[in-house]
């Protein structure tokens, strides 16, 4: 298994440009998440999804959009990039047992390697 993969690894955008950060997982996890991490800070949740077709806002959703058309993929869209969106973005996935009402699965979130985004 490749686990959680993210592309691109690095990107520089100009103010006002748009882009999509890609995230894919091959662990058949139903939950997926997007975080941002600013220097010296913890991770802040942007959006999350509990399954295909279902998404919800996290702590810092403004300026971002997501979609979840398949179990495997969870892209993050930045519209009209701003310098405040300069950060490292991490995607994660998990398989909460509560989602199935069984003892199978875990709440543990597994992270991708990140995308370093700079907006100039």
């Amino acid at each position: 298994n490749a686990g959680v993969t993210q592309t691109p690894k690095f990107r520089i955008l100009k103010i006002g440009q748009s882009m999509t950060l890609q995230c894919a997982q091959d662990m058949n996890h139903n939950y997926m998440y997007w975080y941002r991490q600013d220097p010296g800070m913890g991770l802040k949740l942007i959006y999350y999804s509990v399954g295909a077709g279902i998404t919800d806002k996290g702590e810092v959703p403004n300026g971002y959009n997501v979609s979840r058309s398949t179990t495997e993929d969870f892209p993050l869209r930045l519209e009209l990039a701003a310098p405040s969106q300069t950060s490292v973005y991490f995607c994660a996935s998990s398989y909460p047992d509560r989602a199935l009402g069984t003892s199978v699965g875990t709440d543990t979130q597994y992270f991708g390697p990140g995308t370093r985004l700079t907006v100039l």
Binding site: V4, Y31, Y33, G40, M41, G42, L43, K44, L45, Y48, V50, G58, F90, A92, P96, R98, T106, D107, T108, Q109, Y110, F111, G112, P113, G114
Partner: protein, 110 residues
């Protein structure tokens, strides 16, 4: 609102010098407390999950413990390769979202 506070912000140890990292938390109904290790330029790597007060888990030189208000990550006889940022996060019973602390940056000098 859930809160997680980690201390110290940075810790510098000599190789073999044991110490502990602290994670204090406030959450309305704890489902689990998670420890992650993060190396520079990489994503967080899962270490432990603790679910109830009194629980302990070990992995090589690391041991995590949990009380009703805080968790400790004990590092015994650390080596330079233990140098990393250690992140603590909590998951509430009623939710599916982790709340992270800001991390402790550990440096182990040879």
């Amino acid at each position: 609102e859930d809160q997680v506070t980690q201390s110290p912000e940075a810790l510098r140890l000599q190789e073999g010098e044991s110490s502990s990292l602290n994670c204090s938390y406030t959450v309305s109904g704890l489902r689990g407390l998670f420890w992650y290790r993060q190396d520079p330029g990489k994503g967080p790597e899962f270490l432990f999950t603790l679910y109830s007060a009194g629980e302990e888990k070990e992995k090589e030189r690391l041991k995590a413990t949990l009380t009703k208000k805080e968790s400790f990550l004990h590092i015994t006889a650390p080596k330079p390769e233990d140098s990393a940022t250690y992140l603590c996060a909590v998951l509430r019973t009623s939710g599916s979202r982790l709340t992270f602390g800001e991390g402790t940056q550990l440096t182990v000098n040879p």
